[in-house]
Amino acid sequence: MTDRCLWERMLVGGTAALLVAAFAAMPAWRGMPQAAFESESMDATRFSAGYDAMVARYKVGETEDGLPIVRPPPGDVYVAAERWRFRPLLELQAGQSYRLHVASQDILHGIVVDGHEALLVPGQAALLTLTPTGPGSMSMVCSEYCGLEHNKMRSLITVLEKE
């Protein structure tokens, strides 16, 4: 033990210090950034009413599997999560601000959009203020395992040039 080189002792000590530092940093996770999403008290009836009104007014088409394609104006936008899709298919404008209300229609889902994540507890809604940048697309992905086709539960928001 006595003939151990100095650098080796430093290596052991340094490693131990690094590990302790990493461990000490753990409470910081609790404040991890997921602040962008807020939970809101919106019951299922109000959500459905908002959703139906939005689709009725701003529907511009339909996909092959009957998913409505909706181009809402800036403001309130409703997204329903259900096994294994998000509806409707959204077309938003770059540079405009949208209040995205997302709610699960069946079981626990998750949503990741624009780098923000929320868990979608049935009976509650999650709210995110979203301002798409340049034209292109944004992905909306389910982040909580919700059944065999969970991996297919993703949708692309089309971002259009600002009018």
Binding site: E8, F23, L108, Y145, L148, H150
Partner: protein, 478 residues
């Protein structure tokens, strides 16, 4: 290598791995009593049997997708597909690793010396696990139960499957407890790493239990199984990592006569894993079982706790391999070690370039798991089979390891390039998934070739090791 050479190796100019462990502290070349040998045989058979069954299911999965062969199956392929997939995953990612843990506990117990305590737990644990392993396969073969592809521990919702899982879990726990009750063997580096794997395993079981107790009634089966196995499943990755480091160290001791880093550094690195794993059960008190925080806390735990130990031991191994490169050409074990390290490092580096939803994510997992698999494959050839009085002759076993390793490397790199070029995740191999650019095509082709090589290597390895296990042991060895 002869143990007497240790003194010469000890004069190595640089400090890494300078301390030589006293004879008896290492598990290589340890001699087993007939009772312990029978236990080790059971674990080895469970490990290789799981891989063989997983391979057979993979073949059925492929057949069930081809219209010409679909008709040969006794069930409709749609319902069979996911059940078989779940069983394939549980055998090749959970039972295989846990059986290696079981085998390691026997070797470490054998190195403990002196009178042994709680000996009946050993064969009991092994027996329960083997029975459990068999039960796990029954639902897939009878095509019963509802499959769930939840993370880490996928489930076929059927009593036989849950019973099988519980028997495997309890069996391995008994083997771990018996090892911890005879702590003499834990003093060596390999023994220490296996001890860490064992403790982390028990912590994972505590997490499963806490999750089970805190889950509310009336949940959907998908959510129930996902959240039941989420935390403990993460802690099981600590177990797998510790086992890989134990295997690397055992192989290094065999090939070079010493551990990859000094025992003190090794203990700090591995010991930290237990400290991090202990945070797991605490999370169940801090966060709601169904919350986002609960999920992110365990993901964070892997990032914080599981990066440094493989980097430390892997760096030591790299230094060792470079310094002793002249010996590598003559040592099959050293070559196996080098391939395992290379594949694992490639996977680890890829982990830093993850593109959220393209093919780079699975390429990271494939390479990391490939590296772990390779470590265990080499362990079987240089430690476990010899300890079972079955010395591997001929080059076939080593060729299969090389084929698997190089194939896995090419496969992961090709998949990574394809992902970086924009091929989406989970649709690999599908026709017309935007595979248009020449780069994507070449990457997909290379990835396919590597995959085929890896599959052939893996199948060959299973056949070779199984034939050694089922053959009579070397008479000269006793």
């Amino acid at each position: 290598m002869v143990k007497g050479e240790a003194a010469v190796l000890g004069q190595d100019a640089v400090g890494i791995g300078r301390e030589i462990e006293p004879r008896g502290w290492t598990i290589t070349g340890v001699s087993l009593s007939p009772a312990l040998r029978a236990e080790l045989y059971g674990w080895a058979l469970l490990a290789i049997g799981s891989l063989a069954m997983a391979g057979a299911l993979a073949l059925l999965l492929v057949l069930s997708r081809v219209p010409q062969t679909q008709v040969l199956l006794p069930w409709s392929w749609q319902s069979f597909f996911y059940t078989a997939l779940v069983t394939h995953v549980i055998l090749s990612f959970v039972v295989w690793f846990l059986a290696v843990l079981g085998a390691f506990t026997v070797l470490v117990t054998a190195a403990s010396g002196g009178a042994r305590r709680w000996s009946p737990l050993g064969p009991l644990g092994m027996g329960l696990s083997v029975v459990g392993g068999v039960l796990l396969v029954v639902p897939a073969l009878l095509n019963i139960g509802e499959p769930e592809l939840n993370n880490y521990v996928p489930i076929v919702v059927h009593p036989l499957y849950y019973l099988g899982l519980a028997l495997v879990a309890v069996g391995v726990a008994l083997a771990v407890v018996r090892m911890l009750a005879n702590p003499g063997g834990l003093r060596g580096c390999v023994g220490f790493a296996v001890g860490v794997a064992g403790l982390c395993y028990l912590i994972a079981l505590v997490c499963f239990a806490l999750a089970g107790l805190s889950l509310p009634a009336g949940l959907d089966l998908a959510t129930l199984n996902e959240r039941l196995f989420w935390g403990g499943g993460h802690i099981l990755q600590f177990v797998n990592t510790a086992l890989m480091l134990a295997a690397w160290t055992a192989i290094a001791e065999q090939a070079f006569g010493k551990p990859p880093v000094s025992p003190a550094l090794f203990r700090v690195a591995l010991g930290s894993m237990v400290v991090f794993a202990l945070a797991g059960p605490v999370f169940y008190g801090l966060f709601d079982i169904l919350s986002l925080e609960q999920r992110l806390a365990f993901t964070g735990l892997l990032w914080y706790g599981l990066a440094l130990p493989p980097i430390i031991v892997g760096s030591g191994l790299t230094v060792m391999l470079i310094r002793r490169r002249a010996e590598i050409l003559d040592s099959a074990a050293a070559q196996g070690l080098a391939i395992s390290l290379a594949v694992f490092v490639v996977g680890g580096v890829m982990g830093f370039f993850l593109g959220a939803s393209d093919a780079r994510t699975p390429s990271h997992y494939h390479a990391a798991i490939g590296g772990v698999n390779l470590a265990f494959m080499v362990l079987f050839v240089v430690v476990i089979l010899p300890a079972l009085a079955r010395n591997v002759r001929g080059a076939l076993a080593w060729r299969s390891i090389h084929l698997y390793g190089w194939g896995q490397l090419v496969f992961s790199l090709g998949m990574f390039v394809a992902g970086a070029a924009g091929v989406p995740r989970k649709t690999m191999g599908a026709v017309a998934q935007g595979i248009d650019s020449p780069l994507k095509k070449v990457a997909m082709g290379v990835y396919g070739l590597g995959g085929v090589a890896a599959v052939i290597g893996g199948v060959l390895f299973i056949i070779v090791v199984l034939s050694y296990l089922l053959a009579r042991k070397d008479s000269a060895h006793d």
